[in-house]
């Protein structure tokens, strides 16, 4: 058994990736971790209507979840992020990929 870091790079408005990813991994928070990058960071907007269902699921599951700081800053939303997420910069992103056996990207 290996541990997997899942990368999501699309907003919920542009891809069912986040939904589909969580459908597979929420039940097994030991083996999986979520990270949002690029447009995917919009899913971390704590007050956005579309995110409420997913943020609740994430909180209940205790699945670790990260979001890329640089992509939040570029979009001007770093002060609006849900507390469920840990913020990492690119160096932290590199470190994170090494804590898992593999990285799976979703688009």
């Amino acid at each position: 058994m290996t541990k997997t870091l899942h990368l999501i790079n699309k907003a919920p408005q542009h891809s069912s990736a986040l939904d589909e990813c969580l459908g597979l991994i929420l039940s097994d928070p030991q083996a999986h971790t979520l990270m949002l990058i690029e447009d995917g960071v919009y899913a971390a907007l704590g007050q956005a209507d579309t995110n409420q269902h997913f943020l609740q699921g994430l909180q209940q599951s205790k699945l670790p979840a990260y979001v890329l700081m640089e992509d939040l800053e570029a979009r001007g939303i770093s002060d609006k992020v849900s507390g469920v997420f840990s913020l990492v910069d690119y160096t932290g992103f590199v470190d994170l990929t090494l804590k898992f056996s593999k990285v799976q990207s979703w688009a």
């Binding site: 447009d39 907007l45 570029a74 001007g76």
Partner: protein, 122 residues
């Protein structure tokens, strides 16, 4: 180039850095204005997020169109419209936006589309 005049509605409905379309849309707005067309710009759905001040762009290769928004006035693009529901859905406040804009509900947006001769929905 003819001297005809059209009502052109340009809609930005993609979030910042999500695709090249917002930049493509803004270039159409500026060109249409330069050719003295009657142009309106609507920030719709996730497009409203362009009106947030962005902190840095060094880590992104894509153009930050927010920086170009103030130049809209120079081009005499004064009809800036905003999707009120999208603002609410993203829990954004009017006073944190980069530009003043006219807030529209869905029926008013529908009317703006109906009133236009040509719509670019990027």
């Amino acid at each position: 180039m003819t001297a005809k005049k059209q009502k052109i509605l340009v809609i930005i409905r993609q979030a910042p850095y999500s695709s090249v379309l917002p930049e493509a849309a803004l270039d159409i707005v500026l060109t249409a204005a330069a050719f003295e067309q009657e142009v309106s710009l609507l920030f719709f759905s996730q497009g409203v997020l362009h009106l947030l001040a962005q902190e840095s762009t060094d880590s992104s290769a894509m153009k930050n169109i927010s920086r170009a928004l103030p130049s809209l006035e120079l081009y005499e693009v004064n009809n800036i419209l905003l999707d009120r529901e999208a603002l609410q859905a993203n829990a954004l406040q009017e006073d944190e936006l980069l530009l003043p804009a006219k807030l529209l509900n869905p029926v008013e947006i529908s009317a703006a589309i109906a009133a236009a001769d040509q719509v670019f929905n990027c």
